[in-house]
């Protein structure tokens, strides 16, 4: 009798899925591209929280960043639309089916140039949606032109210096009404993962601006969006610890140093101070800190702002809880009497 060794038990998450169920197609982005690291973090975050992949819808516009949704959550519907207009497509889709979890990936061209208007109006509506900006300050697919997030004086490979000031996508998000605003660095695995998990459970618009270096066109000396620059200028506001509702909070860190923020599904975001005296529930503090950091040449990362109380777009619209998309005919076609009533008034 021969004995076959039992295969090692497969690791699954709380809904019984392997991490493989959260992966996407093989990336076609450049080796070392920050965007790939972000895709990895997205995969981990959804896997670890046990989100059902086919209850998620992915959106993007045009550009290198917009290819990303193909590289994670292959079991989720995806929509790669037109340049800069992802917010409108996502808004429509979320209105059609509010039970879905929506995630959009854009770049700095999409968000800060051609799609600036759509970005700002998305923020204003506080749509429940995760909006990730893969921000590298440069147009990759068209081979290395400045984007509108490139810092003043930052240099292209050719040596040309940028002579216009950048848009700060986080400042815009704060001013226009997003209820979760964060900045991170594609190289900071721990922080980015905590931010993504918070965004997943947040009820409202969650913006994460991730500095994601372009190894091909913007990773040289003189660039302010390079790996080297980020390693030197990344100024972490705090240390983050995301505790999902299905796990107990461990009490390793003594009370007092920790600020805990209760999230919509019962999960907790634990924020440990790192030198900065920073209150992420105060919008004014956030705007001031961003402004000061810009002057000092620092890149502030972490949770810039969180507001868990503001009504979402669906609340404002007083929408039905069930998906509008699949309401039965009896609920979307008024009865004969209604038409009769309308006709009587017009006769």
């Amino acid at each position: 009798m021969s004995t076959t060794p039992a295969p090692p038990p497969k690791r699954v998450n709380r809904i019984g899925l392997e991490v493989l169920s959260y992966k996407g197609a093989k990336t076609t982005l450049c080796a070392g591209c920050g965007h790939n690291a972000i895709s990895e973090r997205v995969i981990e975050a959804f896997y670890e929280l046990g989100v059902q992949p086919w209850s998620v819808a992915k959106f993007s516009g045009i550009g290198c960043s917009s290819k990303s949704p193909a590289y994670f959550l292959g079991l989720a519907h995806g929509f790669n639309g037109v340049h800069g207009r992802m917010p409108s497509i996502a808004t429509g889709a979320m209105l059609a089916n509010r039970t879905m979890l929506g995630i959009g990936v854009t770049g700095d061209g999409d968000t800060a140039s051609i799609g600036l208007g759509q970005y700002m109006h998305l923020l204003r509506r506080n749509l429940p949606f995760i909006y990730i900006i893969e921000n590298n300050g440069v147009y990759g697919l068209t081979k290395g032109q400045f984007s509108a997030t490139a810092d003043l004086g930052s240099k292209l490979k050719t040596g040309t210096a940028n002579d216009l000031p950048p848009f700060d996508c986080c400042s815009l998000a704060l001013q226009c009404g997003a209820t979760f605003v964060a900045r991170s660095f594609s190289g900071d695995k721990r922080q980015l993962q905590a931010l993504l998990k918070t965004a997943i459970v947040h009820k409202g618009l969650a913006v994460i601006d991730v500095i994601s270096p372009c190894t091909t066109f913007n990773d040289h000396e003189g660039s302010t969006k390079s790996y080297a620059y980020m390693k030197e200028h990344d100024e972490m506001l705090h240390e983050l610890d995301f505790v999902p509702f299905f796990e107990d909070i461990s009490v390793e860190i003594p009370e007092g140093e920790i600020k805990s923020i209760e999230l919509h599904d019962g999960s907790t975001l634990r924020i440990k101070k790192l030198g900065h005296d920073y209150d992420p529930t105060d919008k004014f503090t956030a705007l001031k800190a961003l402004d000061e950091a810009e002057r000092k040449g620092e890149v502030l990362t972490g949770v810039l702002y969180i507001d868990t109380g503001k009504p979402t777009f669906m609340d404002v619209l007083n929408m039905e809880d069930a998906p509008l998309a699949t309401l039965p005919e009896s609920r979307i076609r008024p009865p004969k009497e209604a038409l009769h009533e309308a006709m009587e008034e017009l006769s």
Binding site: H77, L95, A96, N97, T99, L317, A325, L327
Partner: protein, 614 residues
């Protein structure tokens, strides 16, 4: 008080004049923003309530206050509701235009005018009725700031008196207009109308031949504008996501829809809306939301005009190629560019049919009446979901914004059709699917909706090259196969689009082809040609693009076919040229009008007479 002598025209034409009953047009010339809309609607409605077929056309400027505006009411015992070019009865309230308005009239017309304008000195071949509006308004409207608005209601009374419109109908129309909630406003206006009537009764001697007499030709009919009709069509078509950006002349479509949705589509139990309406930041966003919503399974619609259509161009290419349903109303106005925003045209035909870059082609529906605005709105949703493509419902300012007499709308009893959508149960049975595969040979693939509870439901939608399985590809064969299949879908549409209205006349050697609002004037023109020139015609009204076999059959039956449209470049004829044979094309002639006013029958008749050498 001065009494009026019979005008020289009446004296010249002798004491007896043949009365002209229920067959004339009234034009009211006012200043924009002076509140004349109420007075005009009441006048139109009163004639309608007397059973006389009536139509109203508002010719207004792109302005809130101060520029001239004209409202034309046509009463027609024959049921003609197209615009009548000749004005028979003028109400001249606007000092700016009064002179020109009077000089343009045909001999024998009547003029009610504000006395200080002294218009009677201008011509001796018209019937003049001076009315001291300012003197009359004071006693009936003590509140000085309301006088400007109430003043207009005085002419309703004067006109009612002169044209024998029953005052009780004016009263009823006023009550209808203001509703029960604004009874006080209705009373104030009623007082003004009575003052006008009494003044005319005592001081004006009727010399013109025009008169309204009670008929029974409007029983069971309604008065409605095309935009409201389309709005109702969407509500009863099961719309769930509505997006828009305000633009004349389409804004009132969604505004009206919001009113009906609030009334008919809030769930009684939960108090929640079974729809979402979003005023977008621009037309780009409006169409983007429509596509996102439709992709996720909503019945979604947006409404716009030419400039909005131009902006939507890129997204429409995406919808065509990624195969996403959408219903888009284009309430056409005069272009190019800003053009004449408050004037009507059929000028977006070619640009919309072929909207966006690359090889694209889109179905267009052409409603001609409020009834069709309603029914085509209902049908457009089913059509868009069946073919998974944008459908444009091409109305125009004349249809959308003017009030039309119409039959009551028929309730859509046919069940709503959602097209080829696979559910989780289907996926379990099939073990997967290929989004862009032509399974049924009609060019239409099967889709799944995001959120479908099945691990095999997902596919990736993209505007870049894709194969049957919706995977990214740049392969030549994949691209060609896919684009050919989408073209096949367009061919399939030919047997699904609304069928044309065809009236073949065995005595006719020539045929007329038109679409949309031209219908009303073309019908009248056919009568003019028959009555005045003895020329018989056949008739073909297109209700949709792509064209159907019926069009070719119609051309074959006739020696010459006149294609009548409201644009400069013969756009619908241009689309015909793309697919008809050279022989058929050689039979086509073009009649075009593009001055911005609704097409009138005389313009058509005159052009046919010229081209036919009659």
């Amino acid at each position: 008080m001065s009494t009026i002598e019979a005008s020289p025209a009446a004296q010249r034409s002798g004491e007896f004049q043949q009365p002209v009953v229920n067959d004339f047009s009234i034009q009211v010339a006012t200043v924009n923003g002076s509140g004349s809309q109420t007075a005009n609607s009441v006048l139109m409605r009163a004639i309608f309530q007397m059973g006389v077929p009536v139509s109203g056309k508002n010719m207004f400027p792109s302005n809130i206050q101060g520029l001239p505006t004209w409202f034309t009411i046509r009463a027609s015992k024959h049921g003609y509701i197209g615009r009548k070019k000749e004005i028979d009865f003028l109400v001249a309230m606007n000092p700016e235009t009064a002179r020109e308005d009077v000089m343009k009239l045909e001999s024998g017309a009547a003029v009610v005018y504000d006395e200080p304008l002294k218009l009677d000195a201008l011509r001796s071949d018209l019937h003049f009725y001076p009315v001291p509006f300012d003197k009359l308004v004071g006693p009936v409207c003590p509140e000085a700031k309301l006088r400007k608005l109430v003043r207009n209601m005085i002419y309703d009374g004067v006109v009612a008196n002169l044209l024998s419109i029953e005052m009780e109908e004016i009263h009823q129309a006023l009550i209808k207009q203001f509703g029960k909630r604004k009874a006080k406003a209705a009373d104030l206006n009623w007082g003004a109308a009575k003052a006008g009537y009494d003044f005319a009764e005592k001081n004006l001697a009727k010399t013109d031949p025009f008169r309204v007499e009670r008929m029974n030709a409007t029983a069971g009919k309604i008065i409605i504008d095309g935009n409201s009709a389309a709005a109702l069509g969407c509500v009863f078509g099961g719309v769930t996501v509505v997006t828009w950006y305000p633009i004349t002349p389409s804004s009132s479509l969604v505004e009206s829809m919001m009113g009906y949705l609030k009334r008919f589509r809030i769930d009684r139990e939960t108090g929640k809306a079974t729809y979402a309406v979003v005023q977008a930041e621009d037309e780009l966003s409006a169409i983007g939301m429509v596509l996102g919503a439709a992709w996720a399974g909503a019945r979604s619609v947006t409404s716009t005009a030419g400039p909005g259509i131009s902006l939507m161009s890129e997204f429409i290419g995406l919808a065509y190629y990624a195969e996403i349903p959408a219903v888009i109303f284009d309430v056409q106005r005069v272009g190019p560019s800003t053009g004449l925003p408050t004037r009507t045209a059929q000028g977006d035909i070619i640009s919309t049919a072929l909207l966006s870059h690359g090889d694209t082609r889109h179905p267009l529906f052409f409603p001609c009446s409020p009834e069709e605005c309603f029914s085509m709105a209902v049908d457009a949703f089913d059509f868009a979901e069946h073919f998974q493509t944008p459908v444009f419902v091409m109305t125009d300012l004349d249809l959308g914004m003017n009030n039309w007499m119409a039959d009551r709308f028929e309730y859509p009893f046919k069940p709503i059709k959602r097209g080829k959508v696979l559910t989780a149960v289907d996926l379990e049975r099939l073990g997967g699917f290929a989004r862009y595969k032509d399974v049924d040979g009609d060019g239409i693939g099967y889709r799944t909706l995001p959120g479908t509870n099945h691990p095999q439901a997902a596919y990736f939608t993209r505007g870049s090259g894709h194969n049957e399985k919706a995977q990214y590809t740049e392969r030549e064969d994949d691209y060609v196969n896919n684009l050919d299949r989408v073209a096949r879908k367009f061919e399939t549409m030919r047997s699904f689009v609304p069928k044309p209205q065809v009236e073949n006349n065995s005595k006719a050697r020539i045929g007329f082809v038109c679409f949309g609002t031209s219908h009303h004037s073309v019908g009248e023109s056919r009568d003019q040609l028959k009555n005045e020139y003895g020329v018989e015609t056949s008739y073909f009204r297109l209700k949709a693009y792509p064209f159907t076999q019926e069009l070719t059959d119609f051309i074959h039956r006739h020696e010459r076919v006149y294609v009548i449209e409201q644009n400069r470049d013969a756009q619908i004829l241009g689309l015909m040229r793309l697919e008809l044979t050279a022989q058929d094309i050689a039979k086509l002639r073009s009649v075009r009008y593009y001055g911005g006013l609704p097409l009138d029958a005389r313009t058509v008749t005159d052009d046919i007479v010229r081209q036919e050498g009659l």
